[in-house]
């Protein structure tokens, strides 16, 4: 494979940019769905009533992560066909585990005596969860979401294989046509997206975090 600067610049500034928004969608939508599923499930699994389901539910999430995204797409192919939707589903399944696991770990890390004292002061279960447990476990929960975001940003490139578009389209075009410039440009943009997402989530966390952690 050869490398020409002119073609690289063209790939960077003309061929790739139209795919940025598509790629962002492929990251943010599965990530949003994954948070909406894994976070509440993680919280529920730490409640006394549901605690004994933890092992079973977590093994489902674990399994979700061990299946290669391509295989997930293959499984859903008969129902959903090719394209955008199966890609989103595969990426969602992929993003679940780190969020669920960190939610569990974060809530488990809240010191027992703090919960005990809060209960002893007369806080209701809901007040303890919303005013004590969640604020204290926030950094751990957020780091799970960040892990998922970065993971999804990279994996989303595979969506192009099933017609899900995104920055993967640029990379796979590069592979098919032996154009190093396209592969490099696509990879750089995915890297930038991953870093910016991480920064963005860190910023959001900073706004939500109690001030003693700053």
């Amino acid at each position: 494979m050869n490398f020409e600067l002119e073609r690289f610049l063209e790939a960077m500034f003309e061929r790739s940019p139209p795919f940025i928004l598509e790629h962002l969608q492929l990251v943010l939508i599965p990530l949003g769905i994954a948070v909406a599923i894994a976070f509440p499930v993680g919280v529920l699994l730490t409640r006394p009533r549901f605690r004994h389901y933890t092992g079973r539910v977590m093994s489902i999430f674990n399994a979700g992560q061990t299946i290669p995204p391509l295989a997930v797409i293959a499984v859903f192919f008969p129902f959903l066909g090719l394209g955008y939707r199966p890609a989103v589903i595969a990426l969602t399944i992929y993003a679940l585990l780190p969020i669920a696991r960190n939610t569990l770990a974060g809530l488990a890390g809240v010191p027992l005596e703090v919960k005990d004292a809060a209960r002893g002061m007369g806080m209701t279960e809901w007040q303890i969860l919303s005013q004590v447990e969640l604020p204290i476990s926030l950094p751990v929960v957020m780091s799970g979401i960040k892990t998922s975001a970065v993971l999804t940003a990279g994996t989303a490139a595979l969506a192009a294989l099933v017609g899900g578009k995104g920055m993967g389209a640029v990379i796979f075009a590069g592979i098919n046509f032996f154009r190093m410039e396209l592969i490099l440009a696509g990879t750089i943009y995915i890297g930038i997206i991953a870093v910016l997402l991480d920064r963005l989530l860190t910023y959001i966390e900073g706004c939500m975090a109690p001030s003693y952690m700053k």
Binding site: P111, V114, D116, A117, G120, G122, M123, P210, Y212
Partner: protein, 327 residues
Amino acid sequence: MLEKLIQLHQIKKVFPNTNIPAVDEITFSIEKGNICVFVGPSGCGKTTILRMINRLVEPTSGNIFIDGENVLNVDSDELRRRIGYVIQQIGLLPHRTIEQNVGLVPRLLKWPEAKITQRVVELLEIVGLDPAESAKKYPYQLSGGQMQRVGVARALAADPPIMLMDEPFGAVDPIVRGRLQDEFLRLQQEVKKTICFVTHDINEAIKMGDYIVVMNGGKLVQQGTPMEVLSNPVNHFVKDLIGDDRGVKLLDLTRAESLMTAVTESPAAANDCFCFIDAIQPVKMALEVMMKNDSDMVGIRRGKNVVGTLSWADIKKHIHKISGDQE
């Protein structure tokens, strides 16, 4: 007659998956304005009793009454807001300032903000913290002793008539512990709360308690004033718990005036005294003064008048009387 504020009636607790009850059919009551200390080894059920009073643990059978009202008929969260709760690990909310921690219960009770702010300042002063300096700090910025003070302030915040204290001074060093105990006893003179106090330290129990409940293996072994328990332990367990030095421990609880020979009985002896202590000071103090001055006798003063004398022989006779049955 003092009012019985807290009454436990045949309280029993068997934790799930265990056969032996943690607390076995215990009945007793606590008078208003008293400090009642539960003392016993780890696992004797003292903490469980405390946690049943504010329903952090539900009894298997039996009833608990506060002010005549069965606690099982009260909403547990409402109940806990009316009872101060202090634990050894303190459990301050790490993400809230000292101000917010102390104002926690008033805020749950929906007091107006201005009243909460005022109350927090008042409480921090009461427990010996500078409000201007500490109110905006976070718990991790305080020392262990300061955190315990905040824990006590938080429990006092909504002015509950009852306080439950589970080894509240257990996590600090002996010097700070002694100081916190003294301050707390002084504070109790003003606030007159009804207090359930849990400790494994018999010395702390004797110092803090108006009334002592000795427990072992979930059973109530002996109850009574510190003086009653010390001078008349019911069995070997209580004797061992108190230690072989119970005669000397009693000297700390006995006022000098109760052992003295009145000046009217032997006026001549009073003239020989060259060192004196106050009538309400403990006998231990008399010993200290005697040793310091190399004397066998101290004079006992009430105000400026010498009212009696206390000699080494008097004290020895007293110790012998209490622990005479010990080898």
